[in-house]
């Protein structure tokens, strides 16, 4: 696999995870503040734009690789969420999360070698 392909896989995952977090924040903000404000609308617009970027990058990758090759990489999104939760929300990582993340990473390495 080329460096370019790997970069696109990572970008499509990161944009997807970022979109999820931004949309989640926007929905929480809308509960007390309503939806007719520029903060909410701009966040939703950014979230939708990021998801669109992720979708099209995936479509470009699917033209080049097996689905059974690309699909396991989605497991990495879980690791990005774990890291974000630890960094942004100062969550403590449990042993269970750490072992799970290691297994996912090992699995991805095997798939990329296949």
């Amino acid at each position: 696999m080329s460096f370019l392909a790997f970069a696109f896989i990572i970008i499509s995952l990161v944009t997807f995870v970022a979109a999820q977090l931004i949309l989640k924040r926007a929905m929480e903000f809308s509960t007390p503040n309503g939806v007719r404000n520029s903060y909410f609308l701009s966040r939703v617009a950014i979230g939708v734009a990021l998801m669109t970027v992720s979708f099209f990058l995936t479509l470009g990758l699917l033209q080049r690789f097996d689905l059974s090759y690309l699909y396991p990489f989605q497991g990495l999104s879980i690791i990005f969420i774990t890291i974000l939760a630890a960094v942004v929300l100062k969550e403590k990582l449990s042993a269970r999360l750490g072992i799970g993340a290691l297994l996912i990473t090992a699995g991805i390495v095997l798939v990329s070698m296949s």
């Binding site: 099209f56 479509l59 470009g60 699917l62 689905l67 879980i78 774990t82 999360l97 996912i104």
Partner: protein, 134 residues
Amino acid sequence: MQNRPSGFGNPWLQLGLSVACVFVSELLLKRGATDVAAPDSAFSWTGINGLASPLVWWAILLIIASFISWLYVLRYIPLSVAYPLSRVVDIVVPLGCWIFLGELISALRWCGIALVVIGLALVAKPIAQMEERL
């Protein structure tokens, strides 16, 4: 979780529908992308040329449908239960690739997929609990 509707409104049925929509949409996206693949053009890295395939449009409709069912599921089932169950797609998608797309999956790739699935099973519940707090 009280007053759970039955019939088509049953949230467990909707969870199953959501997973089925994701599964079918992934296979349609792969088929559609292969049909119009232009790996020699740099522009095709953007994936926008994929819109030329009708299968891709069907897949987009299914993604929207799965999203609506998923939002409905979240009204009735806690994320820490629904999310780990939804990861069953990580098992059915590779199986679908093998059965319906005829992809040859080597022993090495099967082992990698298995490790990812076991890892996801370990982290799915703590992650969902984290998300509920996010």
